[in-house]
Symmetry: C2
Amino acid sequence: MLSNVDRTLVDDLTGGPSYAQRRALAKIITLLESTRLDHRHRADDVLNTLLPKTGNSFRLGISGVPGVGKSTLIETLGLYLIEQGHRVAVLAIDPSSSLSGGSILGDKTRMERLSVLDNAFIRPSPSSGTLGGVAEKTREAMLVAEAAGFDVIIVETVGVGQSEIAVAGMTDLFLLLQLPNAGDDLQAIKKGVMELADLIVINKADIDMDAAMRAQLFISSSLRLLGFQGNPDHASHDQAFWHPTVMTMSALQGQGIPELWEKICHFQTIQQANGQLQSRRQQQSGAWMWDRIDAGLKNAFRNHPEVQKLLPSFIAQVNQGTMASSVAARRLLEAMGHEFF
Amino acid sequence: MLSNVDRTLVDDLTGGPSYAQRRALAKIITLLESTRLDHRHRADDVLNTLLPKTGNSFRLGISGVPGVGKSTLIETLGLYLIEQGHRVAVLAIDPSSSLSGGSILGDKTRMERLSVLDNAFIRPSPSSGTLGGVAEKTREAMLVAEAAGFDVIIVETVGVGQSEIAVAGMTDLFLLLQLPNAGDDLQAIKKGVMELADLIVINKADIDMDAAMRAQLFISSSLRLLGFQGNPDHASHDQAFWHPTVMTMSALQGQGIPELWEKICHFQTIQQANGQLQSRRQQQSGAWMWDRIDAGLKNAFRNHPEVQKLLPSFIAQVNQGTMASSVAARRLLEAMGHEFF
């Protein structure tokens, strides 16, 4: 099934020396990110070959607004983990890259000390051009990094858009990094990410300890007032075993990293023991499949020749109020050959 | 294009006496709600015929959690408006009806005094069975009620799920009814509905005026802290012309109804004068078309014979971890004949 080239890539990735592994990992991710149909099929075969070797990492999602100190936290935590014998891969989902055409996240120069280590792998967010959203490739890249033996995968995103839901939907623990300021808290509540968080960390506590304590209090009482039930669509918590903890720290000063890691491991131990981790991952795989189907259906629609022919005039008629929106929708779908609605 | 039966319905609706109008309106809505393909095509033709007569109402969206007093407010406001010479239609979107198979909203018995008036039309939420969500039919029903000359259409929903976004996306003014209690406020912020609101009304202020004042203060400062920019996807405000007002009232005691209506009319006058209303409705029509396309694509997928054949085994393989989610998605889409991703 695999070509010789791909077989070598897979062998390097799963059994080669460290430098060959990292090179193979980078090459396979590039293959995943390609939009060429033949690359796509090769990537699918590689992915299916690697699948039995995936799943053996701790998948850690980290989000927070720009300036909250994600890079500093990830670098400090990454260095600490490698010192403890772990192998750490850092992947990024940048919701803006598909718009700006460039990546604002995952830049290796941001994590200078981490990026030079043998046991670290840092991959910037894919550039624009990949259909179906950047998150698609990140989840697949995570699987490939697992097959390469990285046992801690950190997926980071910036606190805007739908990317946080994507990250929470592909990780074992979703950590929300907050600034000690009230507007930040409300934003997180507003966007519904507070309820996705397994762990809320108020960073930069050294700058204003009073504000950090106030934030901790506000978030804790908000979570209580929100009844903590969250959105049933994204519910990742079983309240019986874990109440999201709110803690303060200062990543820049390296304060609190061992305590943070201990808290994270405690959570993982519990959810491993009671079966929550397995069901969480299973639920995530299912949801991910539906997400991909959704994106694929939209692409199929946009690329259908009949749709492309009719769409501009239909949009104009809907805008002018000479065709009802629902009638336009049905006629476009009929033009695709769909009669089932 | 129209059959004789449908022509008569349209004539009754647009030119008949009041009782014939209301009967035609009910019949056309039933036709809209039918899932039979021939009914669907008839409904499309009726809708397109009526389209030039639509758009001449004030579309008012009202949402709030169960128990906040929506029915009381709508009945009191409706009676007041009919007294002023308006014709009022009340439609409901019940996000739970597709699950429970029944309707919890729009029950005529809830609005006993309003429902018996000639110039009122109250339609319960459609029961389950309509593909593509209950909101689809509500928007179409709104257009038909407009063609029948109802000049105030109230679309109500209960404060759960995606239904609030749907209501905000089909009305000229979205009114969020709140209880004077902090958990309620946070829920609204969390679900992102606070930012959709053009007007926030704290009801039942008579019960605890202190709590109502505190809620008003908290919501006002939250809106300020949130920067008020809202979600660009759902932005319905141009800050330059309108800052969402937070007011208190007591619908049960009939307090504040004229003031509320004055506030509502003030908003409408401004957005009519500066062109915002037109662009809001245009944007809503476009968004609605895409929403319908989305729902139709999903139905087409679920109903495709090849998909139905493969899906159960693919879901099982994804759950067992023997097939990658993204590979499963692509193969299902290929089975449908889509190659564009």
